[in-house]
């Protein structure tokens, strides 16, 4: 988990879900802990794609439930697509 991806991703989550950066932890689940609407995950995914200039597979992205899993998934996409 690289720090720059983690920091940038948490900033996006914070802006999208209006939760202060310092309250977002990798173990937090988007829907249950951070109050994301379940239909909002696609918007978060598009925000990650825009920030990191990657394309994410929707089916794989749907499996992501926590902030930590999102960081790992984004890092995997960056590795595969750069």
């Amino acid at each position: 988990m690289t720090d720059s991806v983690k920091t940038r991703l948490i900033k996006i989550v914070s802006e999208t879900l209006e939760v202060p950066v310092e309250e977002i932890k990798p173990e937090h689940r988007f829907v249950e802990d951070l109050d994301a609407e379940s239909i909002q995950s696609i918007e978060l995914m598009a925000a990650f794609e825009e920030e990191f200039d990657i394309e994410m597979d929707e089916d794989e992205a749907m499996e992501v439930k926590t902030v930590g899993e999102a960081i790992e998934f984004v890092e995997k996409c960056i590795r595969e697509q750069k």
Partner: protein, 334 residues
Amino acid sequence: MSEDIFTRLENRAKEIGARIVFPEGEDDRILRAAAALDKNGIAKPIILGDPAKIESAASACGADISGIPTAFPKESDRLEEMAEAYCAMRSRMKEKIALRLMKKPLFFGAMMVRMCEADGMVGGASCATTSVLQAAGLAIGYEEGVPCPSSVMLMKIPRFLGGGDKFIAFADPAVTVDPSPEELAAIAVQSGCTFRRILGEEPVVALLSFSSKGSAAHAHVDKVKKATELARGMGADFPIDGEFQADAALVPRVAARKIKEESEVAGRANVLVFPDLNSANIAYKLTQYLAGARAIGPILQGFRKPVNDLSRGCTVDDIVQVAILTSVIAGGAH
């Protein structure tokens, strides 16, 4: 009802002439279905996808799509206008991110429906149901007072109670796992509306439980009672009642013995609202295989405009049928 349901619905779809957008236009099954809909004048398909891939898939499967409008979401000159319209609906949405979303065919298709450039959308041949529900929920939105999308399955029951065939709707067998009383009430009203739109028959809606009008006491019964009360207050112009056991809802003889109060629904129901997805899904599959009933659906409901989902294993005929159902819903009440 001697005429096959789909012959009747197909004729109605032809009268309506709905514009149906297919976001997965690079799939040969979609192209063959679109060609059939267009050729037979059933609907006006719109195909989304990369034009080169559409062309090569169409020629490989022999689908004649000449004359069918296509659009390539990734390079469309409509993206900015759509992104702007999307940002206006979603607070805190940034235009750059909205642009990313609009490039996704499901969102592009849903925005076409939202912006009245298509009358309905049929997707899901190569993506998860959740993706279809998200795109429709975010870009098209829910009908007023509807808290969540849901689904209904139309079951054609052969020789119902020893008489002729009868259509009975089962809700919700596919979308909302454990609806709250508010959600269940909305599902009841929506299912009645869907039943009427598709069949042109008057809905009689029963909310089901293992209790009939207080014959058992449990939190699960209380949920259905509360949902019944809420649904009856939602101003539907068809009868809604509960809580009933399935036999009290369907069989006049049983209703006469079990239901002691006045009810327009007991023994006459043709729309069955189950307390959760578990019971609805199990019930429709049992009815399908044990009673030899034909299952039509699941038909999505609750969105402002019609959207329907395909299974990944769908055939060309399945796609045509879902497009017909979507057109009929787009056409409104009979």
